[in-house]
């Protein structure tokens, strides 16, 4: 065990350094990209409901905006630190770059615990945040979004404060707004559908019709449900769905060899993403232990729930039929499993790329806001498919050409794109 404290920023830097080494980036670019370009640390005094004043510490960190206005959420977190925000802003830069949307990376945070704040105190906090930062934000400068413990309501307060200060209407200044208040349609579906768009592109590449494949999915939350819907819509057969059962405090795998009916399962799931066990049994589903979703004889595994699910142990037990792991969740595969997956010749579609549907939709929200014209859902999803497919092909092409593991290829593409932009601008 190392004696040093876990520091996400150092980890992000290490990750970058590895790729920079592969790309043989020059020292100037490396120096520029391994740290944020701009950091603002400030305090926000807030009048509390009881009349007292409390001062909150806040950050807005812009890692890089060479490719476009910075984009990144604002986190409300009691133990927020500058290093966390730095690391997350860097990851945003890479994430936007991998799907090739013209945005940079940023992140913000306020050291606070919303559990201890009333709604009106939170509103004053949001407005205070914007008051201090108004000249640093804007549709063409830096575009915040919801993140840990912030949501659409916070975004609307912030937007309102921003517009009050600037004296105009700039809905593109922030994303994550509710539909009808500058939000985009299709956000619910975006991440799940995006996963399948990437999968579909890969299957096309290897000439395997979706309709001939089977999949097993972990989770039945938002992402999993829409991934499953799109996948079955394309003709694929979901053999098993694993999800948490709140009542029994354990997870179960629901299996139907003939293929699960996603509408049917969605109709009997609750807001936890728990499928009603009894009713599923009545519908003819087989009930298996939660971890059994990994043991199914299927072509595709879609972990869409938790981190660290695919461990070296699990890789050993995978059916020989498994060809693809499609990472819909964040970090579902443990790093030490990557070599094993590679060894077995299983295609891994990395989270980084697979679940970028969300950020792409945020970008669409901003675009629609900026032109003050909103697309129908079909149009959003159509553009999403285009963006995801294009992003996949770029990464896949690189991976094939250079014989890279997909995860590494995605990083390399992203960092390369940013360093190109930096150089072209003459920054390094």
């Amino acid at each position: 065990m190392s004696g040093s404290t876990y520091n996400p920023f150092e980890i992000a830097q290490e990750q970058f350094d590895n790729v920079a080494e592969i790309l043989e980036l020059d020292s100037g670019t490396r120096e520029l990209l391994r740290q944020p370009m701009k950091e603002i640390h400030f305090t926000i005094p807030v009048k509390m409901d009881d009349g007292s004043t409390k001062v909150f510490k806040a950050f807005r960190i812009k890692h890089n905006d060479a490719r476009g206005p910075a984009k990144g959420g604002i986190r409300f977190h009691p133990h927020e630190t500058a290093d966390t925000v730095r690391a997350l802003s860097m990851w945003m830069t890479w994430k936007c770059a991998v799907v090739d949307i013209p945005l940079g990376g940023g992140k913000g945070g306020v050291v606070c615990d919303p559990h201890n704040l009333s709604k009106s105190e939170q509103e004053r906090l949001c407005r205070g945040y914007i008051r201090q930062l108004a000249n640093q934000l804007g549709p063409n400068l830096d575009v915040p979004a919801p993140d840990v413990m912030t949501n659409g309501q916070h975004m609307l307060w912030m937007l309102d404060e921003y517009e009050a200060i600037t004296g105009g209407r700039y809905p593109g200044m922030i994303t994550g707004k509710p539909v009808g208040m500058g939000g985009s349609l299709g956000r619910t579906e975006a991440t799940g559908f995006g996963v399948i768009y990437v999968l579909k592109s890969y299957l096309q590449e290897i000439g395997l019709p979706v309709a001939s494949t089977t999949a097993s999915i972990q989770g039945f939350g938002n992402v999993a449900e829409y991934a499953a819907r799109m996948y079955t819509e394309l003709g694929g057969k979901v053999i098993a769905v694993s999800c948490w059962n709140q009542k029994d405090a354990r997870s179960y795998t629901f299996k139907k060899q003939g293929g699960c009916d996603i509408d049917e399962l969605a109709a009997i799931k609750d807001s936890f993403g728990s499928i009603d066990k009894e009713r599923a049994l009545a519908l003819g589903y087989e009930l298996l232990p939660g971890e059994d979703w990994l043991k199914q004889d299927v072509d595709i595994l879609i972990p869409a729930a938790l981190e660290n699910q695919i461990t070296p142990e699990a890789v050993k037990n995978l059916s020989s039929q498994v060809k693809i792991i499609c990472e819909a969740a964040n970090g579902p595969t443990t790093p030490d499993s990557d070599p094993l997956i590679q060894e077995r010749g299983i295609m891994l579609l990395p989270d980084f790329l697979c679940n970028a549907g969300g950020v792409t939709c945020s970008y669409f929200e901003q675009v629609q806001c900026n032109m003050n014209y909103f697309w129908g859902k079909d149009e959003v999803l159509e553009k999403l498919e285009y963006a995801m497919t294009k992003a996949f092909h770029a990464v896949y092409k690189l991976a094939v050409e250079k014989d890279l593991y997909m995860r590494n290829a995605a990083y390399i593409i992203a960092i390369n794109r940013v360093s190109d932009a930096v150089k072209l601008r003459g920054w390094a």
Partner: protein, 1041 residues
């Protein structure tokens, strides 16, 4: 001035004097002495030389005179007479030095004085006449009453006037003089007082000290009060029927305005009525005396169904609600908001009706049923139920039930138990006796039959073994228990085919589940659900009532829209009028089916839309399309309901001098109070006593902030995540693995016998450094979850609660304690956690590398066989964890005041383990292992470790071959038979209901090779599986391990 003029002037003066005298005498607001004092000043004005003239009036024993009358020379006396009896005189005198010439009186002046004397006599007579007539009548009809009035007058005057009035009665033997106290000799009998004498004295007293009006009113009130002695007699006679009492009561309230403060008779009456119909408990009666008026009892008496002699009362639950209702009604004078708090229409079936019932059916033998052994009771209870349900209610009861149904109409009813012992002195009996919902649909006869049936079922629940065991444990077995019944309308309205209140809930004066340090205990707590309140009353494992801090509703427990959606009520209890039954259905189904018919639905639900919680109004809400989440947002933020409920709690807890919990329902327009009792039962555990004489070396930690109530005993293992070690981890993966290790420990360690202690916030979803990343399932077995604030963590000295699964903890009954080591007055023995032997490497060899971070301590092994206990006391804001001799079982949620009883362990506990162990051996011995394909039978879990309690199951581990489907079926069937049979036996012995007792885990050779799942137990160091039977020649197990 000529003589004529001067004479005219004198006459005018005399006349003026006479007018003024008249005026004084006519003024009924003046007391007699006041009037006389005025007169002595007035009289001289009528005489020739007013400055020299002085007057004096003597009336009865009193004399009123001008200032220096003694120096004057008396010139004339005019007697005061009533019916030829002289009662005094008016005298006039003159101070001669002040007069120029002659100081004799003129004829006219003598006339004037005589006239004045006459007027005074007349006035006195008038003043007395009415009284005299009244008193005369009394002395003829009811001499006793005259005596009592005399006594009352004496006391009244003594209060009003003081000692001055005493001499009036000096020579009358109204009472014994001298001490009532220490003398040991019998007291002399008072001589009979002469009625005429007393009469005179009374009149004199009246005239002397009281304005005329007052006197009359007082005496007439006293007379009425005495009349009410009839009522007193009625009530005092224990055999009077309720009907007669009600009649007497109505007559009383009609005739007598109640006084404030109440007279002693009123007090006696209230106490007597309370004693008779509400409770015999001293505190309750005092509460009633403080808050109720006699008239208030009418509403009970009008709807009580009692036996002819009415020896029963309305039971604890009924009394609690009734008293609370009266308190609120009274408080509504000061707080108009409380005016519209209602209570449901209630009929009371008095407790003695059950006695009648038993007599009527010759079931008296059931009286001694409680003294049977619990085993017998469990065995025969079904039989008792069937006997009672097949018996019939006495004709009078049935007759009254017709009346009940007549008044209630066809509104659904709830038949609730309200026994003598229920809700008294902290004995909640929650869930022991039945409450039954009746849809009350069909023909009159069908409804009556259903009502009768429900009553019989509630009666039978008195013999429920759980209830009898509860009484046994509380030392209430010998107390007289009788079942009263409340028949109440169910508050609600018809929505489609359902009947339900818009919402209902429970509210507590003290919030013991604080999720933010800003929430104060006094803020109170509200648990709200849609529909009937049954789901709010108890913990519901797979559902979440809305929790609200009443004092600060803005500090919500769930913040993100996802959490709000997640932790919202998912089920609803209601009455299905078509199916004629009580149902629990999904909220979503209810809203789909009937949501559009629920008025003001938009006030109860919000809309979840793409990560946004929106509150819509009735025009924008689309029931078909929107995803509806029950939040009560509108009710909580834009209505006065939370304020009203808080006020209700404040008023009730202040009056009852105890925090209270209430149940209520809202029918869409008004709040109805359904129940009120002292807080300390139900959801909140009772405060555990903090032991005072602990040795310092036994204390492991103490806490003094944000403490809830509770008691955890017999902790055998502690899982401690060291804050420093945790922060020193350098990679995300390492940090995550801490959570994984905890998750595995949760599976392995004995359920509810271990506690988790870790830095910061457990289950942090954001930054993993905030606290160990776990999900609820990773900690579900712990008895308590303890979060330690790190002084060295510079970012956030304020530990925040609301671990995001806080509500899961609440509903699962896992205690939560925040610790602030180093804060003033707390103990934190880090050494205990750091220096004791760490088992982690032995239990989870894969995680041995985390031994510096996670420490698993076997408490008995490290501390000479002692276990850890945690006592939490919210009243004292104190919690202490200390080492103590092992308590055989943990009762973490005792409901009652006498917690000590829970420490005294039933000797049965040893038995729980022994017979389970014996049975496990029997199973192994009788198993056809060859036939089933079983290689070995092992015992794991609590039966193996010897701490099985009455609710424990038997965990068997079977080492099996790859079984054929048929083999598997037969084996499972065979085990299932055992499992069900053992569960039944366990029920008969302990009353603990379980369907199956065996928990069988099967492992194969491969599992054992890989050490996966339960196979690790076989060679576990912590609690190794004990082999019960191993098929010879096939003991490949240990070889592999």
């Amino acid at each position: 001035m000529n003589n004529y003029d001067s004479q005219l002037y004198e006459r005018a003066k005399e006349l003026e004097c006479l007018y003024q005298v008249d005026e004084v005498l006519q003024n009924k607001g003046l007391t007699l002495p006041d009037a006389m004092k005025k007169l002595v000043e007035l009289i001289p004005l009528g005489f020739t030389q007013p400055p020299a003239c002085r007057a004096q009036i003597s009336l009865w024993n009193e004399t009123y005179s001008s200032e220096d009358f003694s120096q004057a020379q008396v010139l004339y006396r005019s007697p005061l007479k009533i019916a030829d009896e002289q009662i005094g005189e008016v005298a006039v005198g003159c101070i001669c030095e002040l007069v120029d010439g002659d100081c004799s009186l003129l004829i006219n002046e003598i006339k004037l004085l005589d006239t004045i004397a006459q007027r005074i006599s007349q006035m006195t007579l008038e003043k007395q006449r009415e009284l005299l007539v009244m008193l005369d009548m009394l002395s003829n009809i009811d001499p006793d009453m005259l005596l009592r009035i005399g006594e009352k007058m004496r006391i009244y005057l003594k209060k009003k006037v003081g000692a001055e009035a005493d001499h009036l009665f000096d020579d009358i033997n109204l009472e014994l003089k001298g001490s009532y106290g220490e003398l040991n000799t019998p007291m002399a009998k008072p001589s009979l007082t002469d009625a005429a004498d007393l009469r005179t004295k009374l009149v004199a007293a009246a005239a002397a000290f009281l304005p005329q009006g007052d006197m009359y009113e007082l005496i007439s009130r006293w007379i009425k009060e005495q009349r009410v002695l009839a009522l007193v007699k009625t009530i005092d006679n224990k055999d009077t029927s309720i009907r007669n009492i009600l009649d007497a009561l109505r007559r009383y309230t009609k005739e007598v305005k109640s006084s404030n403060p109440p007279s002693t008779i009123e007090t006696w009456l209230i106490a007597e009525l309370a004693h008779r119909f509400l409770s015999t408990d001293e505190d309750t009666i005092n509460l009633v005396l403080d808050n109720l008026k006699i008239a208030d009892f009418e509403s009970i008496l009008e709807r009580i169904i009692g036996s002819s002699t009415s020896r029963g009362n309305i039971g604890g639950k009924g009394a609690g609600l009734f008293i609370a209702k009266q308190i609120l009604r009274q408080a509504a004078e000061a707080y108009p908001e409380l005016r519209d708090i209602r209570t449901p229409l209630t009929w009371y079936l008095a407790t003695d009706k059950m006695v009648d019932f038993l007599h009527y059916n010759n079931l008296e033998e059931l009286n001694s049923y409680k003294y049977n052994s619990l085993f017998d009771i469990r065995n025969t209870y079904d039989n008792v139920v069937s006997r009672i349900k097949n018996a019939s209610l006495p004709p009078h009861t049935v007759q009254m039930l017709h009346v009940v149904l007549e008044e209630m109409g066809d509104v659904p009813l709830i038949v609730r138990s309200s026994s003598l012992l229920e809700d008294q002195r902290g004995d909640a009996f929650s869930g022991k006796y039945k409450s039954l919902f009746l849809p009350n649909k069909g023909t009159r006869n069908q409804r009556l039959e259903a009502l009768k049936d429900a009553i019989l079922e509630v009666y039978s629940s008195m013999y429920n073994p759980d209830a009898i065991q509860y009484r046994l444990e509380r030392g209430l077995l010998n107390s007289i228990e009788q079942m009263g019944i409340l028949i109440q309308e169910v508050i609600g309205c018809r929505v489609g085919k359902y009947y339900l209140p818009a919402f209902s809930g429970v509210a507590f004066s003290h919030n013991l589940l604080r999720w933010s340090p800003r929430i104060r205990r006094e803020d109170g707590l509200l648990r709200l659900v849609m529909g009937l309140g049954t789901r709010a009353v108890d913990r519901v494992k797979d559902d979440y009532p809305i929790l609200v801090s009443l004092g600060q509703p803005e500090l919500t427990i769930n913040q993100t829209p996802d959490d709000i959606r997640h932790y919202s009520p998912k089920y609803i209890d209601l009455i299905n009028l078509e199916e004629n039954r009580f149902e629990t259905i999904e909220v979503s189904r209810f809203l789909r089916e009937a949501g559009d018919q629920l008025p003001d639905l938009h006030k109860y639900v919000s809309v979840y839309n793409e990560g946004f919680i929106e509150n819509k109004n009735s025009y924008s809400l689309d029931i078909k399309k929107d995803e509806l989440v029950v939040t009560f947002q509108h009710i909580l933020t834009s209505s006065d309901i939370p304020k009203k409920i808080k006020l209700m709690l404040d008023v009730l807890s202040k009056k009852m001098d105890n925090p209270v919990d209430i149940e209520f329902a809202y029918d869409g327009s008004e709040i109805y109070l359904l129940q009120c009792r002292p807080q300390g039962s139900g959801l909140n555990s009772i405060p555990a006593p903090i032991p005072q004489n602990l040795q310092h070396q036994d204390i492991v930690f103490t806490a003094n902030r944000y403490i809830s109530n509770g008691l955890v005993n017999g902790i055998t293992h502690v899982v401690f995540v060291d804050g420093e070690g945790y922060r020193a981890l350098s990679s995300l993966k390492e940090l995550y693995s801490v959570g994984e290790a905890v998750g595995q420990l949760n599976q392995i360690l004995p359920r509810r016998k271990f506690i988790l202690i870790g830095p910061g916030r457990w289950g942090s979803r954001g930054d993993v450094r905030l606290g160990v990343r776990v999900t609820f399932s990773d900690i579900s077995g712990t008895a308590a979850l303890i979060e330690v604030a790190g002084a060295k963590n510079s970012y956030s000295p304020e530990l925040s609660f609301g671990t995001h699964f806080f509500q899961d903890l609440v509903e699962s009954g896992i205690f939560y304690i925040p610790l602030y080591p180093g804060s003033h007055g707390t103990v934190w023995k880090e050494g205990f956690f750091k220096s004791n032997h760490n088992l982690l490497g032995r239990i989870l060899p894969d995680f041995a590398w985390l031994s510096d971070v996670i420490r698993v301590i076997d408490v008995p092994a490290s501390c000479f066989g002692q276990t850890l206990s945690i006592h939490m006391n919210s009243d004292q804001e104190k919690a202490v964890a200390f080492l103590t001799k092992p308590e055989p079982a943990a009762y973490s949620h005792p409901e009652g005041s006498d917690i000590q009883r829970f420490f005294q362990k039933t000797q049965e506990d040893q038995g729980h383990w022994q017979w389970r162990h014996y049975m496990a051996q029997q199973i192994a011995d009788t198993m056809d292992m060859e036939g089933f394909g079983v290689k070995g039978v092992y015992l794991i879990g609590s039966v193996n470790t010897g701490d099985a309690g009455m609710g424990s199951d038997i965990d068997l581990l079977l080492h099996i071959n790859e079984l054929s489907q048929e083999q598997k079926c037969t084996l499972e069937g065979w085990l299932d038979g055992w499992s069900r049979a053992l569960a039944k036996i366990n029920y008969l012995q302990t009353g603990h209901v379980m369907n199956k007792m065996l928990d069988v885990h099967m492992v194969t050779d491969q599992d054992i090779r890989e050490g996966s799942s339960f196979a690790v137990k076989i060679n576990s160091l912590l609690d190794p599986a004990a082999p019960l039977r191993i098929l010879s020649g096939k003991t490949g197990l240990t070889d592999n391990l």
